[in-house]
């Protein structure tokens, strides 16, 4: 059974984003959701942040997040499947790297949301 996001011939046509921006079919939203979901986990965010500095092997990433190696490996495969990261084997180690750099600017916006939340909470406290 082939995972949804895998780059198979079958998936190739299905996941073509159209160029019109806002009139998108449901399939396109599924694909986008898959990519975003692949980021939506604390450990995965931590790893993406770390990969901003450059490629890292699985062992380094594991030290960073502190979970079981198999857990880290599975997180990486989710992100690889979504196209967020790519890997490269060198000797015994596997190095992961960011595949599309803009992912990092993503975080600025998330932080803006959190700041806005804090500000709203602060306003609520003052009343």
């Amino acid at each position: 059974m082939v995972p949804d996001g895998l780059l198979t011939v079958a998936n190739y046509l299905a996941k073509m984003p159209n160029s019109m921006g806002h009139t998108m079919n449901p399939e396109a939203y599924k694909q986008k959701a898959m990519v975003i979901k692949a980021m939506a986990h604390p450990s995965r965010l931590l790893m993406l942040d770390a990969l901003a500095e450059g490629e890292k092997c699985v062992c380094e990433l594991q030290r960073l997040v502190g979970s079981d190696l198999s857990t880290v490996s599975k997180h990486l495969s989710v992100m690889k499947n979504a196209g967020l990261v790519a890997d490269r084997k060198e000797g015994l180690q596997v190095y992961y790297r960011l595949r599309v750099p803009c992912v990092l600017r993503f975080f600025d916006c998330v932080e803006a949301v959190l700041r806005e939340n804090s500000a709203a909470a602060a306003r609520a406290l003052r009343e």
Copy 2:
């Protein structure tokens, strides 16, 4: 029981993003993940896209996504909880709007990832 992301006094301190960008505590990653997770669903993406045009009532959004009204309402509450949208009641209707506009630029990057995926798939086909 209070939901994790609710803007309570207790959560106010916990979710303060620090200003140093890359040295963040685990709690901050949880908060970021919550925001991103709130986007990570096809129907929710569709609604965010629709809200880019301006505020919309729940009934309009329901017509758009086509699920049960209660389902749509719950999706909206997830996004509201994360701070992505805000609501306003007018008569019988509740209008939702984007709370932090940068959320939309988010999508450009996701589309870049998908384009990169397609390109890779195309390269794979040529071999």
